[in-house]
């Protein structure tokens, strides 16, 4: 399970257009195992499109994406979870009326049984154990009987992560995991992400620069749909092009 010579995911010349609008163009990158990579860029840079392409929500218009050597272009989105790619969403995306535990259990069930009319759903206690373990991992175990929509915002974000984690994915795609969080909640989320980073490959989109610099092994910078920088946080921070388009224009991020 140590870092292998072949990357976990290889993205080659991936582009995505909407009508005549080029949202993403010629992006190439490969992602090594057990590394945290952050994707940054100003609003409209193509971060979300990039994420949607990597998680199967949008098929790429051009290029190829290989995951563990397997071509993903043309694979239906619901297959991605089965292959080992899980994602969270920028806008909290839960099963609001279900209990916290059921939110995670039903996610675990997706990889085990889907069209089974014969068994009882309670006949799979291992799914409940998995759900409880994932909830314990994100610190929500005590609240597992609450209805998901009753949780505080930060807790809902943590539940998002638990839902993604329960699939035991090799690649975890996190779309702004700290969106809308206060400083205290952000701190807890960063601590959680640091724990996760030791055992998983993580790709995240984030706006909070300080957080990214401390957490990531590598940063990709998108601008107008193109990859303009790719390197360590130090290298990206000092990159003149990046400073010009991104960091320089808003001191708040730097």
């Amino acid at each position: 399970m140590t870092t292998q010579t072949t990357a976990l995911m290889q993205v080659e010349n991936v582009g995505r257009t909407f009508g005549g609008f080029v949202a993403l163009a010629e992006v190439s990158a490969s992602f090594e195992r057990n590394k945290v990579t952050a994707v940054i860029g100003p609003n409209g840079a193509g971060k979300s499109t990039f994420f949607n392409v990597l998680s199967g929500v949008l098929p790429p218009s051009t290029g190829s994406i290989r995951f563990k050597g397997q071509e993903l272009a043309g694979t239906k989105q619901h297959r991605f979870a089965h292959l080992g790619i899980a994602r969270s969403y920028q806008i909290t995306n839960l099963f609001p009326k279900l209990s916290v535990q059921e939110n995670v259990r039903v996610a675990a069930q997706a990889l085990r049984t889907r069209y089974n009319l014969v068994m009882n759903r309670s006949a799979y206690p291992e799914l409940v154990e998995k759900a409880d373990a994932a909830l314990a991992h994100v610190g929500l175990h005590a609240k597992r009987e609450r209805v998901a929509s009753d949780l505080a915002h930060g807790e809902q974000r943590a539940l998002e992560i638990a839902i993604a984690l329960v699939a035991d994915p090799e690649l975890l795609l996190l779309d702004e995991p700290t969106a809308g969080m206060g400083p205290e909640e952000t701190k807890e989320m960063v601590a959680l992400l640091e724990r996760l980073a030791t055992e998983r490959t993580i790709l995240l989109v984030e706006h909070k620069m300080k957080m990214i610099l401390g957490l990531s092994d590598r940063i990709l910078v998108l601008h107008h749909g193109r990859l303009i920088a790719d390197g360590t946080p130090q290298a990206v921070q000092t990159d003149p092009e990046v400073r010009r388009v991104y960091l320089g224009q808003n001191d708040g991020y730097a």
Partner: protein, 331 residues
Amino acid sequence: MSSTSHAAPAALRPPQAVGEAGFLSRWRVPLSIAVLCVLPWVLPSQALAVNVLIYGLFAVGYNLLFGYTGLLSFGHAAFFGGGAYITGMAIAHFGLGWFPAMLVGVAGSSVLAAVIGALSIRTRGIYFCMVTLALSQLVYYTALQASNWTGGENGLRGFTVAKADVLGFTVNLLDPMQKYYFLMVFAALALWFVSRVLNSPFGAAIEAVRENETRARACGYDVERTKLLSFILSGALCGVAGTMSAIHLSIVPLDALHYHTSSIVVMMTMLGGAGSFFGPFVGALVFLLIEDVASLWTSHWQLIVGVVFILFVLFLPKGIWGTLIAWRNRP
């Protein structure tokens, strides 16, 4: 609620955030059957009781799609009427016995549901409503035109089932009570089946799809296939109700396929409470009671049903049963 959580670990209880919980949920099938058993004795007429049985099951089947999977179809008359017509035609034109004819009716409505479902499932919201409505109207006009087979405007006649031999017993279907309990057996089996589906892993999958399609897909559920299977199961159950109606009336009126029938089942389900096990039956009972009572006063009884329905949508959107359950589960 907090006292029971000590008794049974959360892991062992079926997860259920909406609808009935605890006792009502565990005993829902025996309870429903018990209620159905006493129905002809407490309602003003046995004819009303049989209608509650048939339309109640129709609404239960509809609720699987609407209440549990979250898809608002305006075309379920196709499966109710389809089941009724196919059963009637199997007896009238092919001389099948009542039981094979009922099986053929349910199978036929399932196939119809598979076709209509496959064509409509990729559309969403109002488009889904309109596609299901349009396709069911196609079935309606087919039945209207193919009058050699269906009797056209006059409805299908000439297939009276007077008696049924079941396991050595002869049920006299001309006797209202015997007919009621005969038909109740099919309703009971269908209710058991629905309860089975809701308890199964698939039941959890359709709930996930209803709650959040995007998330369900990201978790690894094939949303389209899940919806289609739910659509077919729902169509099959409505088909059971349809075949029961054919056996009950000994005719199939063309109205069984009319979009008015589709709208009735939506109203019944919403009146009682979508997404709960007993709700649709309660809705069918209340709807038919209002019809029964109000039609004695005025021929415009639909006006009264309409006003009641609007009041419910505005003030009790969870329906009668749904509101009671919410009140009982209040923190």
